[in-house]
Symmetry: C2
Subunit: 586 residues, 2 copies
């Protein structure tokens, strides 16, 4: 037996016990007469002590241990004189009587410590060493815990986890597929699934009633920061349900996870915010509601005073930064710079200070009387001490810019703490998006998303106005999951394809097997999918999903540790009957 205990479990109750521990040398300190070694494993750190007086040979051996050596130490648990109350094992140490080097280690390319000296590239290349660091290790353990809880909950409410295949068929809509050449059917290809969307709908046709799966999905996209070519979804679908039963089900899941993992209870039902309102009041379909600062439409109030910027604007909107009337010129200039940066793209920022003495001071005083400004303040529901920030311009752009400004103010005012969570539903998304280039509508979600029944008459008269029976779960300004009620009525499906400009042949070629399945008794159904990597990162209060994936790829889609992708042999190409094109020289 290699060990009797782990490095995370011994404490004062164990003093006097003879134990054997195994682990990695975190660090050692040689104090002349004594040598201390911090021994680390997955479970914690335990201090080993070697005494020159009692066993000089052993102590000499301990002195020669390098960082990250793998050792086995036998000894007795003793109370420490110099206690460390920060760790559970900090009150004891092991007086070692036998030391066994299980494996040596070269000097690691970076220090295995929270404040490591290793850069990102180096840590990616030696990911197996980076995973030894507590924070990275704990992220992966958290991921495991969340997955376990998801499965426990879904199982408890009657969902069946069904594994859908990874080698599927290429679908022409959506993002780019990864493909796999078939050796047995030369010239043909499997595709890796972008999501099990059609398969889970087939499971509903099959009568599975409640399906879920924690499943890898694949998209061959040019990677933006923090996108991964392979990512994990919690994929779900249910039959014989209306929208609110789906929302209740997954609201239950979200609440359960936050309670189990974070100890946070959301007792109230989550807000269901219509998409239109989300855009109008927060300028985003994924608003961060950890704080208010709702937009107020000032267009009607401020126009008609010869201020050309306002008079020519389609939309003028403001937010009230409470208690910020004291902002300095410099701070206001910073905010102006912020909204004028290209990503935000506003032309300028207008402010109105509601001073604590009740006076009002704006950047456009010469166009507006104090009385007029008071009307603004009233519309904004501002009180003395508040600062009103206003943007004007084309409506859609201005709402987006105002959203950026609102989040920036949220950051500045400390409203966006990582340990505070505000989940909500955004509902009633538009069914269709008009593509100016293609001169046609595209499905905002996918072509099987059901319109809201009350908007059905608009399908033929004003398709752009039709709302979908679609919904997103948004937490802290991040879309954590989304889904919809699907179309199960073949007449509505035909209408949808017509609006999307598909001929019957197009529809059959692209979605034939699903359409065919729907002929044999498709139940009403709907579902949703959560971004699992994103959910776990959110729960940990972090932004990067990469830190929650054991072996992530970099922004070029490379695994620098495995050195993948890589060349394959000529024999493999021969078997697959494919050739690699020579790069063009130009």
């Amino acid at each position: 037996m290699y060990r009797t205990h782990t490095c995370g479990e011994l404490n004062m109750k164990d003093t006097g016990k003879d134990v054997i521990l195994c682990g990695w040398v975190q660090k050692s300190r040689d104090l002349g007469g004594m040598t201390f070694v911090d021994l680390r494993d997955r479970y914690g750190i335990t201090q080993l002590v070697f005494n020159m007086d009692s066993n000089s040979d052993l102590c000499e051996k301990a002195r020669k241990l390098g960082r990250e050596f793998v050792i086995q130490a036998t000894g007795k648990v003793k109370e420490r004189s110099n206690k460390n109350h920060k760790i559970p094992t900090g009150e004891i140490e092991i007086e070692v009587t036998e030391l066994n080097i299980l494996n040596r280690s070269e000097i690691p390319p970076f220090t295995i410590e929270e404040d490591t000296d290793g850069g990102e590239e180096l840590r990616m290349k030696y990911r197996y060493l980076d995973l030894r660091r507590n924070s990275v290790k704990n992220n992966i353990i958290l991921r495991h815990q969340v997955a376990q809880e998801v499965r426990k909950y879904m199982d408890s409410i009657g969902f069946i986890e069904v594994e859908t295949p990874v080698l599927v068929n290429s679908t022409p809509e959506g993002a780019r597929d990864f493909v796999v050449p078939s050796r047995m059917q030369p010239g043909t290809f499997y595709a890796l699934p972008q999501s099990p969307q059609t398969l889970k709908q087939l499971l509903m046709v099959a009568g599975f009633d409640k399906y879920f799966q924690i499943v890898k999905c694949f998209r061959d996209e040019d990677l933006r920061a923090d996108r991964q070519p392979e990512f994990t979804q919690i994929d779900c679908e249910m039959s014989f349900v209306e929208r609110d039963e789906i929302l209740d089900t997954f609201e239950g899941l979200a609440k359960y996870i936050f309670k189990q993992i974070k100890g946070i209870e959301f007792s109230e039902p989550l807000i269901k915010l219509p998409y239109q309102d989300a855009m109008e009041y927060y300028g985003s379909d994924k608003p961060d509601l950890r704080f208010g600062m709702k937009f107020v439409n000032l267009t009607d109030i401020v126009k008609g005073h010869d201020f050309i910027v306002f008079d020519t604007a389609e939309y003028i909107g403001g937010i009230n930064a409470e208690g910020c009337a004291g902002y300095t010129r410099k701070q206001l200039d910073e905010l102006t710079e912020f909204v004028k940066k290209p990503q935000t793209g506003a032309k300028g920022l207008i402010y109105l200070r509601y001073n604590t003495d009740g006076t009002l001071k704006s950047s456009v005083d010469k166009f507006y009387s104090a009385e007029e400004l008071k009307k603004w303040a009233d519309a904004m529901n501002a009180k003395p001490g508040d600062l009103i920030l206003i943007l004007a311009g084309e409506k859609k752009k201005t709402l987006t810019a105002l959203s950026d400004l609102r989040l920036e103010m949220g950051n500045r005012l400390g409203f966006r703490a990582k340990d505070k969570f505000f989940p909500l539903w955004v509902v009633d998304f538009p069914l269709l998006e008009w593509d100016e280039e293609a001169k046609r509508f595209f499905a905002m979600h996918h072509p099987f998303t059901s319109p809201k029944p009350e908007d059905l008459p608009l399908m033929e008269t004003d398709p752009g106005k039709v709302r979908a029976n679609a919904y997103d779960l948004v937490i802290n300004g991040v879309e954590i999951g989304g889904g919809s009620i699907r179309i199960h009525d073949s007449e509505i499906q035909k209408l949808m394809f017509k609006v999307l400009g598909f001929t019957d042949q197009d529809a059959i070629r692209q979605f034939g097997f699903l359409m065919n399945a729907f002929k044999y008794g498709a139940p009403p159904h709907g579902g949703m999918a959560f971004g699992f990597d994103r959910l776990v990162a959110m729960i940990a209060g972090q932004d990067s999903i990469r830190d929650f994936i054991a072996f992530p790829k970099n922004n070029s889609g490379k695994d620098v540790m495995l050195d993948a992708p890589g060349p394959i042999s000529g024999m493999q190409l021969d078997e697959l009957m494919i050739d690699i094109r020579k790069p063009k020289k130009d």
Copy 2:
């Protein structure tokens, strides 16, 4: 709300309740005044009744329902006059007051019943309809339950489920890889993992201590019956453990699953049968121990009596079929035919009847006296009424043929019941296999499998004799899982590569990243992997893994439902910078 209850939950306690049910029309019977409809969902079947007298319009509507129509029925729960005690809902029926057709169905291509009229190909093409059949549906639900229990158990003993990547690097040893051309790095390829072997070893280097994963693996092999190009493993690895701790851990898992799922308790520790003994006594490294019929080596006893078949044989072995002395000539001829078929390949079968009257009768009486034959019977531990079956020839082939014969006798005697389970460990597999063609040793498991420490000296003198620290879990003659202690000592690894005929460069090119990782403190570790599809099929007492996969592929690796693999567009080929070769005309 679509429904208040499912079709599997209403019983006598619910009589009088107003309910709404949804589901598929299993069948309907029109008895003139009454129409009965069996309504089916995932949970069961409930009988609906429509009465011509009380509501003729509704009854007319019900009469027109086709098989597999999706309907919603509102009504009252009543006690049935004609009770069906075979199903939980068989004592009640629903007197329907409202009927709503949610979706129509064309006539299905085969009947959705246990005794379906659909052939395999047709059912594969319409898999979503085949999945509606109880037996198929229940297989998939069983799979879910087993997966849940595996995860529950592994989590409870401190294992962390870590998702390893699907897009990895191609490894030259082992089976053929499926590959994925990279668009971002043209001319290079990802490979799909045959197993996460190296990644789980890296997780041990990373200090994860106890890892598991239920994970898809991929092998581009020519498919034999019941092999799938994508299959699922329960993959596990642990650090700081010796062999028996690993066996105890996974024996615990196997016992837990059988207890939870089948209610079967294996209270005794499982047998650990050395590979040599398995071969010697059962002619197989995966013996079916639901019954005895152990081989007895008769070579020394039967030689030297001028019977040329025996005298020239390397090995002569027998099995005792207890109570079979009454076998007829015809039965014995059948057995002779059985052993002579090409797959088994014996030259003939010699029998010895130990008649109930104590006399002995063999097929080679003219060479052996009754006294001699009695010696055989004694060696076989036979008693009056038994039948001894003997094969002779080259040892390895004869052991294999005797194994076939033993299993055949097991079948004939009803010893191989599907609901009886006999799990055991087979241990101490040979480390190396000599390949006559390549004139070199190959690793029987993989090149990281540790030799047994006591056999280390043989590595240089007689490598073929070295036993590996490797083990298989065998149940009912099927290998359910296997694994090994890995080499963590770089000197032993070097020796292993030397014996395998690898140069240092070979080793670095093929396993460089793992060898490199091992330089930074690799702990002693080992693990195992279970064939999950196989395990679930075994638990259900069935042979075909295909029936336990929601959307399996056929023997040509095709998904005939999705029609995958299929062609991809010229644009996709352009983006991937690959060309498809034209098939050679010859």
